[in-house]
């Protein structure tokens, strides 16, 4: 037990570079596996939450652009959504990495200021960028569908109150669209968090053996020749993570629906998968 505490001290933050430098090389214990894989989960959380956060805003902008009647706004948004929804995330990672390493190492001169580029090839930036654009495309499609389904009556009521433009969008259209989109968006969030496992299996290399949960799981599976321990541990962690996510989105859902008497109190799973 005390040995395990020691392991936790050594490896709980290994994925972000704090603690023991070398990974365990032999005599692997269950405690080591649970600790290190849990430590890798930090990266999954980092990618998942930041990508969702930034992606949310970008997706809203894209949805509005796609809904717009101006082709200069609509066409680019449609193409962006088509490219990111139409191709596998796995390939997007590869292409993004290969493209990012082509940026000049010394940095790019923008108006006399040198902008460093080398950090873009690191997983924390490059993979986050890909995940963000990817989830933005999927979410934009969801939000676009919701915008189209905003009840005509609500829009007419807003007009009657003399609301126009931004005010009408912010106070009437957007809240209703969010309410309609939320169940599907919850789904998208779960898929995105699951997709973070691909980061270190794709083009982005692991620095100093700091990787995500699956990186450590495959490390253990390869060293112990036994996939029947490490992978189920990852699976367990992800089930917990998914449950937390559903809980969190459920809270938001209740808030979005709070004015509707008898509206769905619980988020129901939509079998029409969006991803």
């Amino acid at each position: 037990m005390s040995q395990c505490l020691q392991t936790v001290q050594d490896y709980a933050l290994r994925a972000i570079g704090i603690g023991e430098k070398l990974l365990p090389r032999s005599d692997f214990t269950l405690c080591q596996q649970v600790t290190l894989i849990g430590s890798g989960l930090i990266w999954n959380l980092y990618f998942g939450f930041l990508a969702l956060f930034f992606g949310f805003f970008l997706a809203n902008a894209l949805a509005v652009a796609r809904f717009s009647r101006n082709p200069w706004l609509r066409k680019p948004a449609e193409w962006f959504i088509f490219v990111f929804r139409g191709s596998p995330l796995f390939i997007q990672f590869f292409v993004a990495y290969e493209a990012l390493v082509q940026l000049p190492r010394a940095g790019i001169d923008v108006l006399g200021i040198t902008v460093a580029t080398s950090w873009m090839t690191k997983a924390w930036a490059g993979a986050l960028l890909v995940l963000m654009l990817n989830t933005a495309a999927y979410s934009a499609e969801i939000f676009y569908g919701a915008l189209r389904n905003v009840p005509k009556g609500e829009l007419e009521a807003a007009d009657a109150y003399g609301m126009t433009g931004w005010r009408r969008y912010r106070r009437i259209v957007w809240p209703t669209a969010m309410r309609l989109a939320w169940p599907a968006y919850t789904n998208e969030a779960i898929f995105l968090v699951h997709a973070t496992t691909l980061v270190f299996f794709s083009g982005f290399p692991a620095f100093r053996q700091q990787g995500d949960a699956l990186y450590y799981a495959s490390y253990f599976a390869d060293k112990t020749f036994n996939p029947f321990v490490a992978y189920p541990i990852v699976a367990g962690y992800f089930i917990l993570l998914t449950l937390c996510l559903i809980g969190l989105f459920g809270v938001v859902n209740r808030r979005l629906n709070r004015h509707l008497p008898g509206a769905a109190k619980r988020l129901r799973y939509r079998p029409n998968l969006i991803r």
Partner: protein, 242 residues
Amino acid sequence: MKKIMLAAAAALALTAGMGMAQNVRIGTEGAYPPYNFVNDKGELDGFEIELGNELCKRAELQCTFVKNDWDSIIPNLVSSNYDAIMAGMNISDERKKAIQFSEAYTPPPLSAYAALSPDADIKGVVAAQTNTIQAGYIAESGATLVEFPTGEETIAAVRNGEAEAVFADRDFLAASVNESNGELVWIEGQDKVVVGEGIAIGLRKSDTELKGKFDKAIESMKADGSLNAMIRKWYGEEALIF
């Protein structure tokens, strides 16, 4: 009664095994020239393929080469997807815990650092292939290790500046360094580092019989000089020989 039937079955299995040449599947990576690679016809080629076929001829085995990713090359050996590994794999204590090795078929090979400039920092960011003895060496040397699944990607990482240097088997790096028109160079004083005890055939620990056969074949190739000739053929005149 039951015992007799079992004995009969065992005898049958034995004679069946003796009747024809034993089938041996050899796992290799196919991405580590000139040790082993996939040539432009899409076939496996390289020093180890030629050597393996010669060894099998001498040991009277029926051999087939199988491609397998480097990452999972040992796990797939112990789970019996093939029976031997010839993939530029050095003998090391860590690997010996999982598998056993035949006699080495190369002298302890030299590893080397290559970089874009001869004075690059070997304690900086160094690229190495995952699960190699070189990766272990870098992790312990205090440098920052960046791992890639194939050897080719480690070189690409130096070319595009992702890593400051690459540490790998010298014979593997040599072709890339020599043909880069001076882009890639050896790091001064760091181009001949001895890591590992020699490259050998990896085998399951329980497979002592196969080890015996391969050992004998390697011995005989060492004795008549054909192994040295083959090393010279693939690695040039300056290569280390027995």
